[in-house]
């Protein structure tokens, strides 16, 4: 089942949305008695808003709990800090509040509620269960805001408290909201737990005190799988060479090890890639600033580069030096074989981090609701509220920027240089978006993980600051990575068959940002990670680096888990939900053929501009001359003239022409960015709101039906294969195909859906009749679905 989390979350609330109940109303259930047949025989008067559960209920509850004591499950290295008993967790069930009695504990890893929650035993729930974080667990890093309720008034809690609240409301960064009622808890316990939680979640922390390290030390013997199985880690020179090789960038770019041991710059990774003619001694001049660093090469040879801007200086002399330096750099990369470079300054005329921060904090408020009445109230102006947060608009702008960059790379054959102050925020975002859209490899799980590793982790995105893991500065907290995931989600949502991973994958990835047992998102740079390995002195680090040169790591470094090892969090069964069953794998060509034709083939498919294209508003000849002028002059002046109008035109033309063709899932993939097309990532943002779910509905229903059919097809195919193994040559071929792709069994039938592949993969299929493109196009007019038939 693909859309799983929605389904599993659906398990919690078995019922469709209802109008929430606010106030107590005696006699509310009167009508309910009787005819239907004793619906809710044990019905009690509705509890009021404040006292959620009446004393009798607590008593009955208590008995049950004492029978089933839930034990606290601690991870290796995890320590219990404080706890409180007789805490009521208030559960919003559609319209009424229900209380669950239990124990609230705070460890150095998480806040956990241990109660007898029968809903946890639900079948659906267990299917997609996180092994590390339970349903009632909140990692300390996941806590967003803590509120206390004093005499029915909600106040933010921070620092030292004079008075302790009767109710604790915790808003989480993954948008869960917990209500803990402390009314029946002993006073000293309340004091202890509230101040404990506030202290451990809100006080600034030292990096060394991250749970990550205690966990890693304690779980030393945990056999972590080799991270290389999950992603290219880009922490060795070979990894970069491999990437250069893969993208055919090795002609013009080279991997350098000038920063080995972080001698030059702590911001940059140990290894990175620069244009071949760039003298290596230039790198240290401004501590790595002003150096064009290679991100990715596209099939045409154009490359995406990034550069961190030189520090702003007042002194004319210094400025002059900087200018000369930059001129030198530009000269090297402007000369053939390099294409013209277009500079995209992301820090001046694009989004500001501030904007992203405000937009997201507004946006998330739409989903962080204390009770469903709030949700209900916002319904009428839902779209307006959504728009006023401008989060969706920011997503649109990011996608648009990425398309603009792609247009330069793809249509105009220019190199694009992304410029940003530290080249570690929006640079990461734009360059990874460009790669997701242009490089089908990045749409596989392995490729995507490698991409995140390359652009974000090794690329030096300051996860520690941007996620505010250490609670040192709220100002620095900007959800840039989340914005990236949301942008990717838009793509996944619009073109599901193009991605090997599902939206569920993106959702759990976004949740993993706050789980401090993975090292991936808990450092500002690779240097910081290496420098903070416990019991590692600087000297050891040098030894380590030398060791790497020779034999590889002789002294085993501390075993930090990467998030890419999904088996740490999920059972294999649950992991299937991260994998998109609709993903159409690239048709495999013969091995000999493959190397030669791979990229040519791709180019052919993804190059959107054909000469014959004529825009409706222009005469034949004018267009021709336009092209001519563009070609003649364009190269020279494009850098000088940056007329935004022309840019807009080019962009539009490129975009329209790409869209006028059916999407090729293994070529260039652009998102739709019109007003109605940017959507809310419902799975992530709405998943904890029971009212927003549709039982047995939505995409999941379609998907499960789809999977069912797919299994059926597969079963029949296997049957056919069995019976006619020897009889027909035709079948033998199909069978062998089946066997080679046995690993991807559920995906197998979809290879047939490739109407662009020159020959039908399975001769038995009925596709040929529909393969005629014109025929298809004709029918697409009214019945868009037919296109995929």
């Amino acid at each position: 089942m693909g859309g799983a989390p929605a389904a599993s979350a659906g398990g919690r609330c078995e019922r469709p949305p209802l109008i929430p109940r606010v106030a107590a109303s005696q006699g509310g259930g009167m009508l309910g008695k009787g005819v239907v047949g004793g619906g809710g025989g044990t019905k009690a008067p509705k509890p009021s808003f404040v006292s959620y559960v009446r004393p009798e209920e607590i008593h009955t509850n208590e008995k049950e709990v004492t029978e089933k004591e839930v034990t606290l499950h601690l991870l290796p290295g995890e320590q219990l800090l404080c706890e409180a008993s007789t805490v009521l967790k208030c559960v919003q069930e559609d319209s009424c509040q229900r209380g669950i009695y239990g124990r609230l504990v705070c460890t150095d890893f998480k806040i956990a509620f241990l109660g007898d929650d029968e809903s946890a035993l639900d079948n659906d729930e267990t299917q997609f269960k996180n092994k590390v974080i339970g349903e009632n667990d909140i990692t300390l890093h996941c806590v967003d805001q803590i509120y206390g309720v004093f005499d029915e008034k909600k106040k933010t809690l921070f620092g030292q408290l004079k008075k302790y609240p009767e109710k604790l409301i915790i808003h989480c960064k993954d948008l869960r909201v917990f209500h803990f009622c402390l009314r029946y808890t002993k006073e000293e316990e309340v004091k202890r737990i509230v101040s404990g939680i506030i202290h451990h979640t809100q006080a600034p922390k030292l990096l060394k005190r991250l749970f990550l390290f205690s966990y890693a030390t304690a779980a030393q013997n945990h056999t972590a799988t080799d991270p290389k199985n999950h992603a290219v880690m880009f922490d060795t020179l070979q990894d970069w060479c491999w990437e250069l090789e893969r993208t055919k960038g090795n002609m013009k770019y080279k991997a350098v090890s000038v920063n080995e041991g972080y001698k030059v710059c702590e911001r940059l990774p140990a290894y990175f890639v620069v244009p071949t003619p760039l003298p290596e001694e230039d790198v240290p001049r401004f501590h790595g600033h002003g150096i064009p660093i290679w991100c990715w090469s596209c099939h045409s040879g154009c490359a995406l580069l990034k550069m961190s801007a030189l520090p702003k200086e007042q002194d004319d002399g210094v400025l002059q030096i900087q200018k000369n330096f930059l001129d030198g750099i530009y000269k090297t990369i402007h000369r053939p074989p390099y294409e013209i470079v277009k500079t995209e300054d992301l820090s001046s005329n694009f989004l500001s981090l501030q904007e992203i921060q405000t937009a997201y904090s507004k946006f998330k408020q739409l989903f962080l609701i204390d009770n469903s009445t709030e949700f209900w109230d916002t319904d009428i102006k839902w779209f307006s509220l959504l728009e006023s947060s401008s989060w969706l608009d920011i997503i649109r702008r990011c996608l648009k920027k990425a398309i603009e960059v792609i247009e330069c790379l793809e249509a105009q054959n220019m190199n694009v240089l992304l410029l940003e102050e530290n080249a570690s925020d929006l640079c990461c975002l734009v360059s990874s978006l460009v790669q997701v859209m242009m490089d089908p490899h990045c749409r596989t799980r392995f490729g995507f993980q490698s991409l995140v590793q390359k652009e974000w982790i090794v690329g030096g995105h300051c996860f520690l600051d941007r996620c505010n893991h250490l609670r040192q500065s709220d100002k620095e907290e900007v959800p840039v990575f989340l914005l990236f995931l949301d942008c990717v989600w838009q793509l996944v949502h619009q073109h599901p068959p193009a991605f090997e991973f599902t939206e569920t994958y993106l959702t759990v990835l976004s949740d993993s940002l706050y789980i401090p047992i993975f090292s991936t998102f808990f450092f500002n740079s690779p240097h910081q990670k290496d420098a903070n390995m416990p019991r590692w002195k600087r000297r050891d680090l040098c030894l380590f680096w030398q060791g790497r040169e020779g034999q590889g790591a002789q002294s085993k470094p501390l075993n930090l888990l990467t998030v890419w090892d999904w088996s740490v969090q999920f059972e294999p069964k649950a992991q299937t939900l991260l994998k998109n069953p609709l993903y159409v794998e690239k048709p495999k060509l013969d091995k000999g053929q493959r190397k030669g034709t791979h990229f040519k083939h791709q180019r052919q498919l993804s190059l959107p501009l054909t000469q014959s294209k004529s825009s409706p508003k222009r005469g034949f000849f004018r267009e021709e001359t336009d092209h001519l002028i563009k070609n003649l002059l364009g190269k020279r002046i494009s850098k000088l003239i940056n007329s935004s109008e022309e840019l807009q035109d080019n962009f539009r033309e490129f975009y329209d022409s790409w869209r006028s063709k059916p999407p090729n899932y293994h070529g260039l993939l652009l998102p739709h960015i019109e007003g109605p097309e940017i959507k809310v990532w419902a799975q992530r943002y709405l998943r904890w709101i029971p009212e927003a779910q549709i039982l047995g509905g939505g995409r999941v229903a379609t998907l499960s039906k789809l999977l069912e059919t797919m299994e059926e097809v597969q079963r029949l195919q296997e049957k056919i294969e069995e019976r006619h193994h020897s009889q027909e040559a035709l079948q033998a071929e199909a069978a062998s195909l089946l066997r080679t792709s046995a690993r991807l069994s559920s995906l197998f039938p979809f290879a047939l859906l490739q109407r662009h592949s020159s020959k039908p993969v399975l001769p038995t299929s009925g596709w040929k009749a529909l393969g005629d493109e014109e025929d298809l196009a004709k029918r697409e007019d009214e019945f868009v679905d037919l296109g995929d038939v």
Binding site: I380, P663, T764
Partner: protein, 712 residues
Amino acid sequence: MWWGGRGQSFNVTPQKEEPEMGLSGPKSVQGSGMPEPRSHQLGSCLASGCLPGEQILAWAPGVRKGLEPELPGTLICSNLRVTFQPCGWQRSEETPLSSEYDFSLANIGRLEAVNGLSRVQLLRPGSLLKFIPEEILIHGQDFRLLRVGFEAGGLEPQAFQSETKDGMSFLLQVTMAIVQARAQNSQAQQYAGITLSKAGQSSGSRKPPIPLLETSEDWEIERKKQGARGWRVSTVNERFDVATSLPRYFWVPNRTLDSEVRRAFGHFHQSRGPRLSWHHPGGSDLLRCGGFYTASDPNKDDIRVVESMFQAGHSDIVLVDTMDELPSLADVQLAHLRLRALCLPDSSVAEDKWLSALDGTRWLDYVRSCLRKASDISVLVTSRVRSVVLQERGDRDFNGLLSSLVQLLSAPEARTLLGFQSLVQREWVAAGHPFLTRLGGTGASEEAPVFLLFLDCVWQLLQQSPAEFEFSEFFLLALHDSVRVPDTLTFLRDTPWERGKQSGQFNTYTQVYTAGYSQPPAGNSVNPQLSVWDWDLRYSKEQILQFHNLGYDPEHCPDSWLPRQQPSFMVPGPPSSVWLFSRGALTPLNQLCPWRDSPSLLAVSSRWLPRPAISSESLADQEWGLPSHWGACPLPPGLLLPGYLGPQIRLWRRCYLRGRPEVQMGLSAPTISGLQAELAHLQELLRKWTPRISPEDHSKKRNPNTIMSQSR
């Protein structure tokens, strides 16, 4: 002459004389500038697709744009429709109309001519066209868009000559012809000839694809199917003398005599008294009626009859004020207009303001309130055995919408293809929804696309629970588009009476009403049986296949419906409780009928305390008690409750954004249809190779023909 003047300016003046009508097939009209020699071959080609009585007024070669690939072809304007006929495309005889290339004149909402940067909107009286258009855009009221470009290179030199000679080009002609034809067309006009050609194919009496509910047998069959034992088919309106807006037959309680029915109905607005709409298998009855006619002064007996009709043998009556919390007709119309403006391809709304503009149309809000109300009513109907009466003043708009939605929510039968069509036929067509007026056909001020609002609601349900419906989005889309195609009378008349009269159903009556324009020639009476449900008029077999929702889970098919065993409440006695459902809550009523001094026979028991007037408790909670109860026992089988929260209501993009092809392109469609085809193929293979096949391999294969039209 149609238009005159030298120079480049052409003024459209309304044409005085009626174009000659005949069955002689197409001919070029008045020979104005249509070069005969060239059109010889083409003309005959064009003629092949013509309906009897259709005349081609003008045509011009052009290229269809906007949708890829660009299609070269011919733009044809006839007195019935505008068609873009691609090169080499032949109309099949089976489907004389095309859902793809035809634009009925009534559907044309806006016509724009584009030349370079200038853009002129035509179709206004006295529109001027000052240039020869490079492209014309025809905006359909059904959100479709036809863009035809004319390239100078595409015209033969000959055309240029004739242009200079006659001072007008084909393009101009065709453009102006469209304007002209549109101005003269009235929506009430039907493609008169179509039924002839169709009727010719099947000799003798043709069985309609679904019962049209024009005979008492149809009603009787339907009544039995619903298991409504306490009801009978009343023939009191057989001659439409009770009300012309009512169907000839309807269901009334067994014990009520026809004479009583006639008397009782007189006390309702437009004589639309309480009738059974649907009998819930659990025992409840859903009734609908018009508002009380307050000026009348019924006697004691009449009140007794009215009350017993409301009561329908149940002890519990809930009167639902239909209009409460729902938009007015004017609201619906305004919202639809706004929505159409927003969805225009050149809508000036900036992308980042789109969502609030969408909110501003209020359309989705109205969809939401309809769903919410329908959900509440289906809870009322399902939760206990009672009689639920929908009361709307006119009883012709929202009563139909709600009663259909309630049935869709509570009866799996209504979610099948046939069931849904019968539902629409019964609750909308037969019940007298004034389609013509509501869709703007009569020019009356009461235009309001209530039916389209209903279709949007159904689409919301469909996308929320894709496994529960046998029909697909495309079926809804087809129905949506059919509303403005004047091929059958289904949507072309306001009342069953007019529909019946037009189709010559009751020839014994003198025909008072004569349609001036489309009076079929004597001897060729229109086949009365053709209805919108004859999909093969407009849709090809492949398209009809698409009407099936492949995600439909056969488990949800009607067989699995197990009616609860309910004691029969057919013993007439005073009802124990009468409620008014309004603002999401039930309030007790002291008397059912509003008339002064009515001797109430209803002993309303006083032990029912009045509920707080405004309760935020959901009705489902009130009805079923605490939610904890639901944990153990989920919803009654077959009942769907729709989601109607802000994020759950979506925009029907495939319908409303069709004019913006860029939005449509590349929409990743579910690939399930492909898999199904593959599955069928593999099964075929297996069957061929193995004579006996294990039953589990056998997944139900549906034959579209048997389902869509039983006649063939």
